[in-house]
């Protein structure tokens, strides 16, 4: 038992660690000439978007998800680096292994951010801020990368704090101070407030989270519906009981592509999806994962975006299953009648491939073939093996070669 005045855990037990301009900083490790310059990582095509922007570029108003054309206009001397996701994944794995040295309670949010439950580190550090600084220092020393840490009593507060701490900083929102901290923030900063909800809240004069907290809960539920209204009322009151949920390092894997010109030919779309299903299957194989759910994302020429998903009765990993399902999902969109700007396939409900697995009656042959292809790719790269229908135009009826 410790002394009375030393509680056994930290009140501010949740740390949100977010890597600063992660893709750019990883590139700078290999290319020191990029240091101090306005750099973005993103595709080179006319419709590419910024995936990650250096703080030098952000000073010109460039931010991630911005069309590359606009970014170049804002910052004419912008250096554009083509993304190397394999490298980012590899560095991400090293970042997460640093987290794992501090606590097993790590919940990955994406390749470059995670929640850590640091309550158990009370005996190893005097304050949560000390833990946060040690995490930042370890990442800096071992990997040469800057990161920011937010600390608080809930995930919501920790996440907002890491944002305020950027770049290369740390912010702790002390227990008891959450409400004051939250209420100054724009309501837009809350999880669950997208454009539509934001507009509905703005109509009734809600701008900050404080405005939201001042509304009677009933009124909010009436305006936004029970689930969302109740959720936001809780968040605005600082109530966020969600624990750090480890063991979900990879929640989803997806591939997508924005096309230089809108697609209106279904045959072409099917070929694109076949190629994406192939890439997705290769990544699942590489990570030794199976997917319970597959998602199709379609963005039309006017930027409206729809997603369709399907959950399998037993998880799958073959390109054939992913592709066949994606085609069925495509039929549930307007792709046949509206030009398409972006297509993407995602896999979620990921389970380890070596977990108990329901065997399939007819799979035998196909699984073996795809495993063989994946092994060739692992050794020789992705272009070593391609399906016949991807190497030429025409003649593709949307079926895999060899399908019945």
């Amino acid at each position: 038992m410790g002394p009375m005045n030393r509680p056994r855990t930290f009140a501010e037990r949740i740390a949100h660690v977010d890597m600063d301009a992660f893709f750019v900083e990883v590139e700078r490790l290999r290319r020191p000439d990029l240091k101090g310059r306005a750099v973005v990582v993103g595709g080179a095509g006319p419709r590419s978007v910024v995936a990650s922007a250096s703080y030098e570029a952000r000073r010109y108003g460039v931010h991630s998800a911005m069309p590359m054309i606009q970014a170049r206009r804002l910052c004419p001397h912008l250096v554009v680096v083509v993304p190397d996701h394999a490298e980012y994944q590899a560095v991400s794995a090293e970042v997460f292994s640093v987290f794992a040295e501090f606590t097993p309670l790590v919940e990955a949010v994406s390749v470059d951010e995670a929640f850590l439950d640091i309550a158990g580190l009370r005996r190893h550090a005097a304050t949560p801020a000390e833990v946060g600084e040690r995490i930042r220092r370890t990442i800096r020393l071992r990997l040469g990368l800057p990161s920011s840490v937010g600390l608080g009593t809930t995930k919501l507060v920790a996440k907002m704090a890491s944002r305020d701490a950027k770049p290369d900083g740390l912010l702790l929102v002390a227990a008891g101070g959450e409400i004051e901290y939250l209420h100054r923030k724009p309501v837009r900063a809350l999880w669950g407030v997208g454009e539509a909800t934001h507009a509905r809240l703005e109509e009734i004069g809600v701008v900050t989270i404080g405005d939201l907290a001042a509304l009677p809960r009933d009124a909010l539920i009436r305006r936004l519906g029970g689930a969302l209204g109740g959720h936001l009322a809780d968040l605005a009151a600082g109530i966020d009981p969600r624990p750090v949920a480890p063991g979900e390092e990879t929640r989803s894997i997806s591939v997508e592509e924005t096309y230089d010109t809108d697609l209106s030919d279904l045959g072409r779309m099917r070929r694109e999806l076949l190629a994406q299903a192939d890439r997705l299957a290769a990544r699942l194989h590489h990570e030794r994962l199976l997917a319970a759910t597959v998602h199709l994302k379609v963005r039309y020429g006017d930027f409206t975006t729809v997603t369709r998903s399907h959950t399998f009765s037993a998880p799958v990993a073959t390109a054939r299953d992913l592709y066949r399902t994606t085609l069925a999902l495509l039929e549930r969109t307007d792709a046949a009648v509206r030009p398409v700007r972006l297509l993407g396939i995602g896999a979620s409900g990921l389970v380890a491939a070596d977990a108990p697995r329901q065997l399939v009656l007819t799979e035998g042959a196909w699984v073996e073939v795809e495993r063989a292809i994946a092994n060739v790719r692992d050794r020789f790269g992705h272009s070593a093996v391609d399906r016949a229908s991807l190497t030429g135009e025409g003649g593709d009826d949307g079926r895999l070669p060899g399908s019945p």
């Binding site: 399998f312 999902l329 108990p356 697995r357 329901q358 009656l361 019945p404």
Partner: protein, 359 residues
């Protein structure tokens, strides 16, 4: 058009035909029931273009004619009238339903808009016992898929086999095969399982005639006719999936096995398999779920073969054992990665093959 009939008889023909009317019809007209009156008969048709149900009733015909009435409203209106005679008429764009005082009036759909449906073809139909056929459908339909991404697997494959009617279904994890005695079966086609599940609630009766044509399957009795558009595509070659011989055989009491599966299923949700160790004198059944716990038990049985542990999805196993209506169940296995086959200890008209879970 104007007829008079007993309320309950009218509800019966309207509601059974109405089962083919989809909740979200593709065309507004498909929310209607086609009602044709001639001679002494009222014919009612409901369809979603994939499944069509036709019923008929002898009524007191005051004047003949054809109309299309809103399916749900008209059926419920008749149902809510007081018991006794009901008058149903269509005139000048309006349907009037009355009896015992209350009068309902609904806008009539235009009969000219109703799709032209081809007449059921029953020439080559085979006769089957309705109750046995319903049981058989219950047995095979559990293995059919509900996954629209693979339409072929949402059907039950009908074919003639050795003077019997054979029905086969699979969702690619299990496969059910059932033979039904029939006279001169010669048919083949993939019938949507959704349509088959509607049979008992629509037209099934003591005697049923079954025909599977090029495009449609038809099921007819004195209660009416259900037709279903066949699913296109070729059904997997199921014969090649059924192993030719089994060196390892378990004979076990069905009830004891079902109870054991039920206990294990308490823990075995979410794709957690049930492990079965087959050994002389019985089986060790166990389930373990990380972070939760588990259950184990011994069930006495006869086993001849090599000792081994095989795992199955609890629901798939339960579906198969439940479907067999015998006191003793036989489970044949080859090895832990090959399909197991369940059948009755006596009968040879039903077989349920299921793929194991790899541990």
């Amino acid at each position: 058009m104007r007829i008079r009939a007993e309320r309950d008889d009218l509800v019966d023909v309207l509601s059974r035909a109405g089962r083919a009317v989809g909740a979200r019809a593709a065309l507004p007209i498909l929310q209607g029931l086609l009602i044709e009156v001639s001679g002494k008969t009222m014919r009612v048709t409901g369809t979603d273009l994939d499944v069509t149900v036709r019923t008929e009733l002898e009524v007191e015909v005051l004047s003949g004619g054809t109309t299309v009435a809103p399916a749900r409203l008209a059926t419920e209106a008749v149902r809510k009238l007081p018991p006794g005679a009901v008058t149903f008429q269509a005139e000048a764009g309006e349907i009037e339903i009355s009896g015992g005082g209350p009068v309902f009036r609904f806008r009539e759909f235009s009969a000219a808009d109703y799709p032209k449906l081809s007449e059921p073809v029953l020439k080559a139909a085979v006769a089957v016992d309705g109750a046995a056929f319903a049981d058989a459908i219950g047995q095979v339909s559990v293995a059919a898929s509900t996954d629209d991404a693979r339409p072929v697997l949402t059907g039950v494959f009908f074919e003639a086999e050795g003077g019997k009617l054979r029905m086969v279904s699979t969702d690619s994890y299990r496969l059910a095969v059932r033979d039904v005695p029939a006279v001169e079966a010669s048919l083949s086609g993939l019938v949507p399982v959704r349509a088959l599940k509607e049979l008992t609630r629509t037209v099934s009766a003591g005697k049923l005639r079954v025909a599977v044509g090029d495009r449609e399957a038809a099921f007819a009795s004195d209660r009416g006719v259900l037709t279903a558009r066949l699913i296109e595509g070729s059904f997997p070659n199921y014969r090649s999936l059924i192993p030719a011989s089994y060196p390892n055989r378990l004979r076990i009491a069905r009830q004891a096995l079902l109870e054991a599966i039920d206990r294990a299923s308490l823990v075995a949700e979410d794709h957690i398999p049930i492990r079965i160790t087959l050994q002389k004198g019985g089986i060790e059944l166990s389930v373990t779920r990380q972070d939760v716990g588990g259950e184990t038990e011994h069930v006495e049985a006869e086993y001849s073969g090599e000792e081994m542990t095989i795992a199955f999805n609890s629901k798939y196993l339960n579906d198969g054992v439940s479907a067999i209506d015998e006191d003793t169940i036989v489970l044949d296995v080859l090895d832990p990665l090959k399909p197991g086959v369940l059948r009755g200890g006596e009968g040879d008209d039903f077989l349920y093959l299921l793929m194991p879970v790899r541990l």
